[in-house]
């Protein structure tokens, strides 16, 4: 029965990322860098109408553009054409066709040369407009609103009357776009021998299976490679329409095709986090215990469904989130709009749940004149989070810093806030691994898993080094290839908990077999090379698999935020974040800290800058770029202090998602504390701050 070593040398310490040298020298190759011989450039033609029926398409002129080798229909259009069904496009940016050519310029010209005739249809892009009875229907045969069955516990109506204090609020969150720095896309080569796909993906197996099934190619003839990829955050699963289009182009052109989405495309059709509009009513008893909670929530996932595979694309939220309230009623209505479909986005449903619930918590705490940390200690059922609040509050200096809302002096007001998070994590039990021990003492550890920048490669090297008494730099890690033993998709913060037990098992078995085979009783460390030499001319190859008892689920954390708000301009500066997180056994605390930093910065963007803006007149996405979809710069990033609670006895869990859940809530609470008035809609822009302060004049008459 394997177990984690008691006094590890590398595990739970800082280890440098083993692929850092490749990344800092530019030698790391991503899907967008793949250049198999004879490769062609690929591009996609997208709908410029939010709703339209295609009457005719002609590729004739496009095919004549010099350098163009292939033009194909998007799979959904082709499918509908075959079934003689209505060729209706339902959102601005929906895929229509793809072109492949010897240059980017040829492709640009070819896109312009595709002739398409449509009949424009009525459309609706804003949630509140889509709810109206007379709103145009996004799908002809169903309403735009889809209410879920209410979830109830206890007797919430009676319970409100028993409350000493009740608050009501309307908390709203925007549609957030993943915007990884590398856009979605693949380089695909489809020949009679099969398909090779260099994918920018979080799940090489999901791309593999998706290509095989969509293109009716034997699974054994598909290979997906992801040595490096430039971020995913939940949206990069499956080949996507763009992957299928790239494959079809490749087959028609008889050449590999590199087809990456443009940043513009990325904002339209690569997935997003649904919006939420949460009307909360919440009450507590005299002693401060939560007693009644009611939520009416609606939001949009665009046309619905998920474009990239993966779950969690709904606009529903877990409520009352991490708190236990005896009397609850939760209503949710999904709203369909003519907009790009949502897909899982880092901790699906949780950041909006945390934002609304934690804002309501602070609003109620303030109304009852209870300190917000005390209020949480009273109501948070998690013993670990209780400890985290206490540790964090002390490190943050909560007691000394806390002032009554709006009471800090001067034009620039300071405020503080906090919030908690929870997440599952846990491991994929079907994960497999392989180790090849070479006679020269080098060792290759192979898993069909991918590294998104989370440090997966390094985790493998750390555990292997720990078991074998080597250094992480001595381990050769091979990942990112479906030819390697099955590995999990990197989602749900489950990667570490999947691969860690697997690598421990694989390397433990490799060590045991090496010892048995060579007769060296302890082949670790300084005996390693001597033992390997005894292998003679035959490397030792050993398989391993995920084992029970080395991982678990249930990670969490709390975050504290300090902000300055300029009450004359409405501008917000986040000064400091203190984050206290647990995720079981921590493998590499250096890369772990990076993950937490990253989650915090993403959560800050959600709080202050990020929203997809739809134009209701034209139906387009108004900000399909980084100019007006704003991502934090180095100058926006606050001072971040991280406290890591290492709990080896719980095994490996996972951290990617919990790190981003409570940040927006903590910042929003800090802003409310600074101003003395709540801005209940994120992103919290200067306009919203000034409006909350009553300083914005009404619009002049048109």
């Amino acid at each position: 029965m394997p177990s984690w070593p008691a006094n590890p040398k590398y595990i739970s310490h800082e280890t440098r990322r083993i692929d850092a040298p490749a990344k800092v020298t530019g030698s790391a190759r991503y899907a967008s860098d793949a250049n198999p011989g004879g490769w062609l450039y690929g591009m996609i033609l997208r709908s410029k109408w939010p709703a339209a029926k295609i009457n005719s398409i002609s590729f004739e002129k496009a095919r004549q553009i010099p350098g163009i080798k292939a033009v194909v229909l998007a799979p959904a259009i082709e499918e509908r054409q075959k079934n003689s069904s209505d060729l209706t496009l339902r959102y601005y940016g929906e895929e229509i066709a793809g072109v492949a050519g010897s240059t980017k310029q040829a492709c640009l010209d070819a896109l312009k040369a595709i002739e398409i005739d449509v009949t424009e249809l009525p459309f609706v892009v804003l949630e509140d407009d889509a709810k109206a009875d007379d709103a145009p229907k996004v799908w002809a045969d169903q309403p735009n609103t889809s209410p879920a069955k209410p979830k109830e516990s206890g007797d919430v109506d009676k319970a409100f009357s028993d409350c000493a204090a009740v608050i009501e609020g309307f908390y709203t969150t925007s549609v957030q776009i993943h915007h990884p720095m590398e856009t979605h896309g693949n380089t695909v080569s489809w020949t009679p021998d099969g398909i090779t796909c260099w994918a920018s993906t979080q799940g090489i197996t999901s791309v593999h299976d998706g290509l095989a099934s969509a293109l009716k190619v034997d699974q054994s003839k598909v290979r997906v490679i992801t040595e490096y990829m430039g971020g995913g955050f939940g949206a990069k699963f499956g080949p996507g329409p763009h992957g299928i289009i790239a494959a079809k182009l490749s087959r028609e052109a008889n050449a590999p095709v590199r087809l990456m989405l443009t940043r513009f495309d990325q904002a339209l059709a690569a997935g997003n986090r649904p919006s939420t509009f949460q009307k909360i009513k919440m009450g507590a008893k005299e002693d401060g215990t939560l007693h009644a909670f009611q939520l009416e929530n609606y939001g949009t996932s665009g046309i619905g469904g998920t474009s990239g595979g993966g779950g969690g694309a709904g606009s529903d939220v877990p409520a009352p989130y991490i708190y236990k309230v005896p009397n609850t009623r939760v209503n949710h209505t999904a709203i369909t709009t003519n907009a790009g479909p949502a897909t899982a986005f880092r901790a699906p449903r949780n950041p909006p749940a945390s934002f609304a619930m934690e804002s309501a918590m602070d609003d109620l705490a303030v109304k009852m004149n209870i300190d917000p940390v005390e209020f949480r200690l009273k109501n948070d059922p998690s013993e670990i989070r209780q400890r985290e609040y206490k540790i964090g509050a002390e490190k943050f200096g909560w007691k000394a810093k806390y002032k009554k809302p709006g009471s800090s002096p001067g034009v620039v007001k300071t405020g503080i806030g906090c919030a908690g998070s929870t997440w599952g994590g846990g491991g994929n039990r079907r994960t497999r691994g392989e180790a090849q021990v070479n006679p020269d003492g080098t060792i290759e550890v192979r898993l069909g898993v991918q590294d998104l920048g989370t440090g997966t490669r390094t985790v493998i090297a750390v555990i292997a080094a720990e078991v074998l008494g080597l250094t992480p730099e001595q381990i050769t890690v091979r990942i990112g290839d479906t030819n390697l033993p099955f590995g999990p998709g990197s989602g749900g913060s489950t990667t570490c908990a999947s691969i860690s037990p697997t690598v421990l098992d694989t390397c433990t078995k490799a060590l045991q077999q090496l010892q048995t085979q060579t007769g060296v009783p302890d082949a670790r460390g300084e005996n390693w090379f001597k033992a390997c030499k005894k292998l003679g001319v035959t490397p030792l190859v050993v398989q391993g698999q995920w084992q029970e008892g080395l991982s678990s689920s249930g990670a969490g954390g709390v975050q504290f935020a300090e902000v300055d708000v300029d009450t004359e301009t409405g501008l917000v500066t986040v000064k400091k974040i203190v984050a206290v997180h647990d995720c079981g056994l921590m493998i590499d605390t250096l890369t772990l800290e990076s993950q937490i930093n990253g989650g915090i910065i993403m959560g800050m963007g959600y709080a202050l800058y990020e929203e997809r803006v739809m134009d209701d007149l034209s139906g387009v996405v108004l900000n399909p770029n980084f100019e007006t979809y704003k991502l934090s710069t180095i100058s926006d990033v606050p001072d971040i202090e991280v406290v890591l609670l290492n709990m080896p006895e719980r095994g490996v869990i996972g951290i990617g998602e919990p790190a981003t859940i409570p940040t927006a809530a903590a910042i929003a609470n800090a802003i409310a504390n600074a101003l003395g008035v709540r801005v209940s809609s994120i992103p919290i822009t200067p306009a919203k701050v000034l409006t909350a302060l009553g300083k914005v004049p009404a619009p002049a008459k048109a």
């Binding site: 301009t569 500066t573 134009d615 100058s635 914005v696 004049p697 048109a702």
Partner: protein, 321 residues
């Protein structure tokens, strides 16, 4: 981008001729032009490189007037210690243009001549009024970044940081038009956008900004902008102020605002009011009231009124040093 031919002009006449004869466009730094071309918002058949034209890339520190050649980069203005000393407001404005990568290639002329940043104008699939369509989408749609003052139906504001700073310094922009040098005030340079919804400024086809002349009479200047992000972000509102201060009294004061009108916005009555005054809280607040008195906020940009009010007060007080 659509395919184009490319030529480097070695004389002003050949530059003008090439542009006129070939549906051409001048290219200096290329930040704005290439952005337009990539979205097919402009489709010249020929790009005429003007970076080889003589005499356009120097800062000349004259005794009464400094001259900034149109090809001087924004980075040069940001990093020039003499500029920082004599025109601190201009230096501050330059330092916040985009990012260093942009400033390193951006030209003074291009920064002044840049096209509207309105997201309807910049969007490849909304045929707005400025592009020859029938409707100013922003008026009825998403207008959080738009003007508080306009002379016509289009509500897209001027957003050039340098324009705001130059306006407060009473700069003259010298435009080469049909072979003749035509000086304009900043107000005159943008009057075209005030009057004509399809214009971004007063430049006609073939016009080339060749230099900006800035009088040194004002011994203090300042610039502040408010942006959502702390860096690399367009201003929501920007403010520049300049004056001569002698014995604590303002002389020749100018206050200009960017991002709230198609022209860097000045109110003569406010400048006159400030003449001879000392800078204190009451005075600057009154000036701000006067400047913003006739603001016409739209549905989403009313926040610019209190924001501009704050910026005006702070920029003026910053003149005290």
């Amino acid at each position: 981008m659509k395919a184009f031919q490319y030529a480097t002009a070695h004389s002003f006449d050949s530059a003008r001729q090439l542009v006129a004869d070939n549906n051409g466009a001048y290219i200096a730094g290329g930040n704005d032009l290439l952005g337009l071309l990539k979205e097919y918002l402009a489709s010249p058949d020929l790009l005429v490189n003007i970076k080889a034209l003589p005499g356009l890339n120097k800062i000349d520190r004259g005794s009464n007037t400094w001259t900034f050649g149109a090809l001087v980069t924004v980075a040069e203005i940001e990093n020039d210690p003499h500029v920082a000393k004599t025109f601190p407001g201009l230096q501050q404005a330059a330092a916040e243009v985009g990012s260093q990568q942009i400033r390193n290639v951006a030209s003074v002329g291009g920064n002044l001549a840049q096209h509207s940043r309105c997201w309807y104008f910049r969007h490849r699939d909304t045929h707005c009024l400025k592009k020859g369509g029938d409707l100013c989408y922003a008026r009825h749609g998403e207008n959080r970044y738009h003007s508080l003052f306009t002379g016509n139906t289009c509500i897209s504001p001027v957003v050039s940081n340098l324009a705001t700073a130059f306006a407060a310094l009473d700069a003259k922009v010298v435009v080469l038009r049909d072979g003749k040098e035509t000086p304009m005030t900043i107000a005159e340079l943008y009057q075209g956008a005030w009057e004509n919804p399809q214009a971004h400024n007063s430049l006609k086809p073939g016009d080339m900004i060749v230099r900006v002349e800035v009088p040194t009479i004002r011994n203090v200047s300042a610039y502040i902008q408010a942006s959502d992000k702390h860096a690399f972000d367009w201003a929501l509102v920007s403010c520049a102020a300049a004056a001569t201060i002698v014995d604590g009294e303002l002389s020749q004061p100018r206050v200009a605002l960017g991002c709230i009108s198609p022209v860097p916005y000045q109110v003569e009555a406010a400048n006159e009011f400030l003449q001879g005054k000392r800078l204190d809280d009451e005075t600057v607040a009154k000036a701000a009231d006067m400047i913003l008195k006739d603001a016409q906020p739209h549905e989403h940009n009313g926040y610019k009124v209190p924001m501009a009010h704050a910026l005006i007060r702070r920029t003026l007080l910053k003149l005290k040093g």
